[in-house]
Symmetry: C2
Subunit: 247 residues, 2 copies
Amino acid sequence: MPTNNDIKLIKSLSQKKYRQLERLFVVEGEKSVLEVLEHPKAFSIFLLWCTENFAQKYENLLPTSYEIVSSKLLERVGSFQSNDSAVVVLDIPQDVNCNNTSNFCLFLDRINDPGNLGTLIRLADWYGVDNIFCSEDTVDFYNPKVISATKGSFLRIQPQYGDITAFVKSFEGQVLGAYLEGENIHQLESLKTPLGIVIGNEAAGISPELTALIERKISIPTFGNAESLNAATAAAVILDNCRRLMS
Amino acid sequence: MPTNNDIKLIKSLSQKKYRQLERLFVVEGEKSVLEVLEHPKAFSIFLLWCTENFAQKYENLLPTSYEIVSSKLLERVGSFQSNDSAVVVLDIPQDVNCNNTSNFCLFLDRINDPGNLGTLIRLADWYGVDNIFCSEDTVDFYNPKVISATKGSFLRIQPQYGDITAFVKSFEGQVLGAYLEGENIHQLESLKTPLGIVIGNEAAGISPELTALIERKISIPTFGNAESLNAATAAAVILDNCRRLMS
């Protein structure tokens, strides 16, 4: 039986301070929970609540211990407006430590929006980025909105948080950054690896401290009148061009 | 003085049926309302409500008639959680009629998510797309979430809604569509204009009827493990590659 303490615990995990205290995070909805069950080695399951319907549908994937609950309770404890499938609580692993010898690497400087961070992780997973480094003040990876926006890629890619200036300094390769005025990315010649790309804050762009460390300023050419692109959209275009040009 | 009828009217415009009945739509927030005032020829203003602060800041851009209201009232009538600047109600113009001789054209097949449609319009504005055609069942352009996601591009690009199969049939140029298995877009040679690109529904992709009309199936190469990209992100990568290859 789900206890009141469990309900309180799951609800508390919508806040970063409780996620850090308990070292737990929440994954919601049929598709994402299913991906968790299909990749049992990625994270340890602390608790799984699902509807009768979900349990029947995925019987052979369920762990030994789980609770059948109502969709009403799933909606009450989670952040989804409607959830008639499942909620799973997973252990947050020890801090991720990427190595600085990766071949294709993303540096995220103060990404604020959870949807953008999730989309960036999904993109990194599509374009085969080896490592993601985030500045300390980038939105928390274990935020439920980030997890949801990754569409399952959180199982394969976990970023390392820390001093981004130190990360970039220690990276043994060429570092590119996107600016409104830089080299036209369509006109670049082939790019040598290891390659690192810095994506800046949605409103303020890349910080001056990091700008000083960037070897090449690149930009996405415009053919119309829009002032800018969204950070995740711009990152998609940059990753695509880099992959096309990587030798 | 704002009347109760005005309050009711503005609130009703969050629903498509009332927007169509009244031929009016709502634009909210400092940046978007400011863009409207800076482009007075794009849409006729039916009503403008703003805070004292907004009125002082942009005094020289205000129309002859407007109302000073509290931010509380702006939040009550609009869809933003916080709005301490302005709400403007604009006339919906006569149906847009694009010509079928445009040089670079986007066909949107049942785009459901307002954020995606808004981002697609912003992208079209960045990449200089001449015309956007939407299937009848694509989310309404005048939905406040669409308008907000365009980041001002709604002032420059308005899509035409209608029978998308007929649109594509009458288009006098090459039509490309994105699929999971198609020609690798990085390996395409130059592309001839006029060029049209079909973007399919977020879950179901491009319909079989439209697929029959598509000359070339293209795809975005993957280098990792993610199963798919978001519709707007994929469109960004495709538009970027097309612009790079257009002769």
